[in-house]
Homo-oligomer: 724 residues x 2
């Protein structure tokens, strides 16, 4: 239990860091009255939206809890509620800092670039540490309570179920938060542009536009709160499910099992420390490169994590070369093999991966996880950064018009899936060769252990975006706006990075989740023979239906943005009509009303798509069971879980990288290339950016929690069918 | 053998129909000298392109043949060459008729809408019947030679290998033809628009534009020749592989087996007759609805095919309620089941599907195939027709700009995958329940048996498109152009229909191909235990790598169009510069040079992407075998075959339906909605149309042959590894 206490201590440290740094941020000067006035409107709007969103989600949450209580029992229900509440808290607190840091960043940028960068990044770091800290505390706390207080075996069913329910709570909130926030931010953005720039002919971020506050609110509720909830979910699912799969798959003495299950917690803990150290390394060098400054922090964390993980492993496992238990999932190789071709008795290659592994194997798997993080960051930067071929090719294609810009953007978005897929494939093969499915799980764990740092990089984005908007609206000097713009351009890339990172981790986690599914199935329905072979047509059916989900979900998300933007347009038109003082600049528009309208639209639009991954697995199971029997129902359901990742990985990466590339192609042109601002090429690039908006900020990122929910619902369905 | 003779007779009938109808088309008046002049330029360009394309493909073909000869023997090599040559012939002859029918259609449209419709549709019907007829003749002829002349057993290895090689030849040609033609047509289209409309300010189809002939040539080499080669491939693969899977899977006395293998041929034969009858039913009714007229022909064919297939089945099988052999693929249910969970001995649901089936089961499977055809046609029309929500929603979104048009188009393209997937899933389940994998194969066969009619509907499109271009260039009266435009709008929908149909059949065929793969594997490597279960990470790796292929392929295709269009722009600029007489209208531009440049660009660009599906399966097998052993190499390869369809189905449908919807949204606006031609909404719709062009005519349709090639290369690799 000492290991768990250490992990809890690290989680507490992250929260303390959050409080401490919040103080620093809040003590910074908040600018003049005009700036504070604007910031207050944004704060008010963001709070109003999150309030309504959380009330809606709470209703769904209570309904789900009421269903869970009789089917899965009190522990699972409490786990679910903790996951749900903390996911909400991570988003809420992050947003709360973000809406205060924005105006302070604008004020700090008045002084220097470094000043703005420090403030914006610190604000991001608070969100990042809260995500990782609260995530770690929730898992470690629950595990501690169940094992140390309630006296469960570490691999007891109640531990497994409660951790799964915790993950479900986090995922359910996060899909609503991601999608609702994503619809809000893009509906406000597109709506404000349509009616402001196109119809009224006023510039972007003009305070006369009633939707301008909603647009800035959107950055906070979408890119900050939604993202934080999403990454909290990813963190909890990955670490929690790693523990669950150890419990399910490894056969070892209780003490060794307990240590092994606590290892992911300690790895998460030490990486919080390395992340905190990393945040202090974010400083501009001589070249004044903002990306370089952020990279300094990121790479510091990555490099320090190597010895930190080694120390944690040695502390937990002692001699790293001692063999650890045996992973039942791998153990008798012929046991997992289809006997379809078992005419001979050649053992097949699975056995070569070894039925057991040692500490070094796990350590190397975690190193592979770190390497995957680094590679995914680098690949995302390549595809979305302004210095490389992809973004430049889109900018160049803008010269010949809107159509060619979009064609090239789509080509890049399709292409951008290749390298991440290859990285993930190589990682799966290598980690599986080292330590089987447990190896894959540990790679996912070390990947996610850096979440604190990665979220910090991301959450920095909306702060600088808002800072730029406030600088514009408050009429601050041009050099301030230039500095915030420079900070913001880098934010576009870091935002894309987190999304690629989240979906990459989802691909690794999917394998682990499928392992948990099959193992649970074996435990709950020992008498059932389920055929997961690709030669079973119900497996194909499941794969196809799973693959359909991200497409349908994407279609819903894109359409929702269009529809919600329409409501914004109508409201703004009405405000201009009924109050001519707005355009004259003599009276203030009713910002809150627009915010309220986007709020209602976003919340209404988020419900159906969010329920899609909750309802689909249940529907597929029952329909296929009805047609072809329970064994095929489970086969189709299992295949669906993999279908959703096989297709979702590509849909999500292509949307988020493609969208980031379009955005930065516009920025690249605005920097004076291909004719610069106002040229025909710029107009075409604006079209690409608009197309990329719902791609990268609404539909794409929400695929990640969608994949998890589908998987976790399947696990809970199994438990419920088995009688709780 | 009588059955095979009957099938051959039907194939000959199709070819005779082609000759007879060609005569009718060629005897129609070809218009005045100006029209003939333009038509001659198109003919010349199309011939020049196809000539070069076929020389390039011939080189690849000879290289492949040289590899095949020592590895798979003379019969396979000859089968490969027959498939390759006939695929080429189907495309070449279709194109040859198309480039003659275009000008005659324009001339006939001078008289009446019915006149134009009749001519254009007859030209399409010639291509359609040649595709089905040559396809049927090649399979039936080879089967007859091997069984009746060379004395092989119907399920002998040589029959199986030769039919597979025939399919490979057809597929290899068709991917080059589809992609090369697709790049040609869209590079010319986009290039002509960019330099003509945007730079020089001359209208579309203006004879002063040196790229205008290339644009019209593109319709013929892409939408006609490429499409014909593609559907020839689909026909041969589906019917051929149905026979192969019967040979591999069904255990029955030789005579019964022979009859069963001949049934797909006879079904193909009788459906040629019903298709020919259908072509005579294409007449305008009182409402002058062109779509209605085409539907009359299509539905006549579908409805007549019901009794025709019943007659064919009864003739071949006698008593339809007698049990037929037993399909080894299903037979011992536990044999195909993973024993992962075989702790109990509950039989599982697979056994319920029955190890045997009777004639009625097969008949109903074929009825399901017909129903799928009808449903896919209807769904495609819904998503791409101007009368329904999807196209109207894109047109409406055009009012608010380029960005919202593209967003809505992408949303529709994502959404359009849902219904076809559900139809295919239901068909798979139903046919599998009726007669196992053989049932799925027979559904695919009856689906493809209507290819003659479906191709006729499609090949009609480029003829009317060209007729419109010729009418414009030759300065024919406005009412002629109006008639050809009306004919052309329907062509956009029918073109989309064929693509949805082809990819839908690919999804069914994929299951059959995977069955053939696993059965071959069992036969060639009886001592190897291959684990196709989803819990094998190498299966996940294969699925992910397979899923990547359509994305990478799509990226290549989209980029290729952009690059090739760039060459067109440069050439046209150069012609304008060096010969000022062109713009003045005093000298004729060098059409042939532009055609030649697009030709070279298209051929250069088609090679790498076309080789992707040939090389990838081989690479995956060898790399994974090297890492994890041969059993895992085969597992990853098998999973790759399904990964490519699981992702390719969605990529292809979203691209082809989305592209069709964008195109018709533009047409809908041009019909006077949302401001009509020249409005801001129209400009936005033009952007959407440009984006949709390479989506629907280059990348999307080429996914279908790509899927087949990946599968067939895997089958041939197995045979080659086993020593031929």
């Amino acid at each position: 239990m000492t290991i768990v206490y250490l992990a809890i201590a690290c989680g507490v440290l992250a929260v303390v860091y959050g409080f401490f740094t919040s103080g620093q941020v809040l003590r910074a000067p908040a600018g003049d009255a005009r700036m504070q006035d604007i910031a207050a409107a944004i704060q008010e709007g963001a709070k109003a939206y999150l309030g309504r969103q959380y009330i809606t989600i709470a209703i769904v949450g209570v309904v789900v809890a009421v269903i869970l209580l009789p089917t899965l029992g009190i522990y699972s229900t409490v786990g679910f509620l903790i996951g749900a509440v903390l996911s909400g808290v991570a988003g809420y607190v992050g947003m709360n800092i973000s809406v205060r840091a924005n105006v302070r960043t604008a004020e700090a940028a008045r002084g220097s670039l470094q000043g703005g960068l420090t403030l914006a990044f610190r604000s991001g770091a608070i969100t990042g540490m809260l995500v990782a800290g609260l995530g770690l505390l929730s898992i470690a706390g629950l595990f501690w309570y169940l094992v140390a207080v309630a006296g469960d075996a570490p691999n007891g069913r109640r531990v497994i179920d409660t951790l799964t329910a915790l993950a479900f709570g986090a995922s359910l909130i996060s899909i609503f938060a991601r999608l609702g926030g994503g619809i809000f931010t893009k509906a406000a953005d597109v709506g404000a542009d349509l009616v402001g720039k196109v119809e009224a002919g006023i510039p972007e971020d003009d305070p006369r536009n009633p939707a301008v506050i909603a647009d800035n609110v959107g950055d906070n509720v979408g890119d900050c709160a939604g993202m934080a909830a999403d990454l909290f979910e990813t963190y909890v699912v990955t670490l929690g499910l790693t523990m669950v799969s150890i419990a399910l798959l490894v056969q070892a003495p209780t003490e060794q099992l307990l240590a092994l299950m606590a290892l992911p917690l300690l790895v998460g803990g030490v990486c919080i420390i390395t992340s905190i150290i990393g945040t202090y390394m974010v400083r501009l060098g001589k070249g004044q490169s903002i990306m370089g400054a952020l990279y300094k922090g990121f790479w510091t964390t990555v490099i320090l994590s190597v010895p930190a993980i080694w120390l944690a492993s040695t502390y937990v496992l002692g001699d790293l070369s001692a063999t650890i238990g045996s992973a039942g999932f791998l153990e008798p190789a012929t046991d997992t093999l289809s006997t379809d071709f078992a005419l001979g008795d050649t053992p097949g290659a699975v056995e070569a991966t070894g039925a057991s592994f040692n500490g070094w194997d796990l350590f190397w798997c975690m190193m592979i996880g770190l390497a995957v993080t680094g590679l995914l960051v680098w690949i995302t930067e390549y595809y979305t950064g302004t210095n490389y071929r992809p973004v430049k090719s889109i900018a160049k294609a803008s010269e010949t018009g809107h159509g060619t810009n979009v064609i090239q953007g789509l080509a890049i978005s399709l292409e951008s899936t290749a390298l991440p897929t290859l990285v993930i494939v190589v990682a799966v093969i290598a980690t599986y060769q080292l330590a089987g499915i447990i190896g894959v799980a540990f790679a996912a764990t070390s990947l996610l252990a850096l979440a604190g740092m990665v979220v910090a990089l991301d959450a920095y984005g909306p702060v600088t975006d808002n800072a730029g908007g406030i600088a514009e609206m408050a009429g601050m000097p041009d050099d301030v706006r230039q500095r915030t713009d420079a900070l913001d351009a880098v934010g576009n890339t870091t935002k894309a990075v987190t999304k690629g990172y989240a979906i990459g981790s989802a691909a690794l986690a999917a394998l682990v989740l499928f392992g948990a599914y099959t193992t649970d199935l074996k435990e709950f329905f020992p008498e059932l023979t389920v055929d997961f072979s690709l030669s079973n047509p119900y497996v194909i059916v499941g794969l196809l239906l799973g693959a359909l989900l991200p497409y349908l979900f994407g279609a819903f998300g894109m359409t929702a943005v269009g529809r919600a933007a329409g409501h914004v347009v109508e409201d703004v038109r009405e405000q201009f009509r009924s109050n001519p003082g707005i355009m004259a600049g003599t009276s203030r528009p009713n910002y809150a009303r627009t915010v309220d309208i986007v709020t209602r639209a976003a919340i209404k639009e988020m419900i159906v798509p969010s329920l899609l991954p909750v309802v689909s697995p249940v529907a597929v199971y029952f329909i296929i069971t009805w047609v072809a029997g329970q064994a095929q129902g489970f086969a189709a359901l299992g295949a669906m879980l993999l279908g959703v990742i096989v297709s979702g990985l590509f849909v999500a990466i292509s949307m988020t990288s493609g969208g980031g590339a379009w955005d930065n192609a516009k920025k690249y042109i605005e920097d004076g290339n291909h004719g610069g601002k106002g040229s025909e090429a710029h107009k075409a690039a604006v079209t690409g950016d608009t197309v990329g908006d719902p791609y990268k900020d609404t539909a794409g990122p929400a695929v990640n929690p969608m994949i998890k929910i589908t998987n976790i619902v399947a696990l809970l369905l199994l438990a419920a069918l088995a009688g709780g």
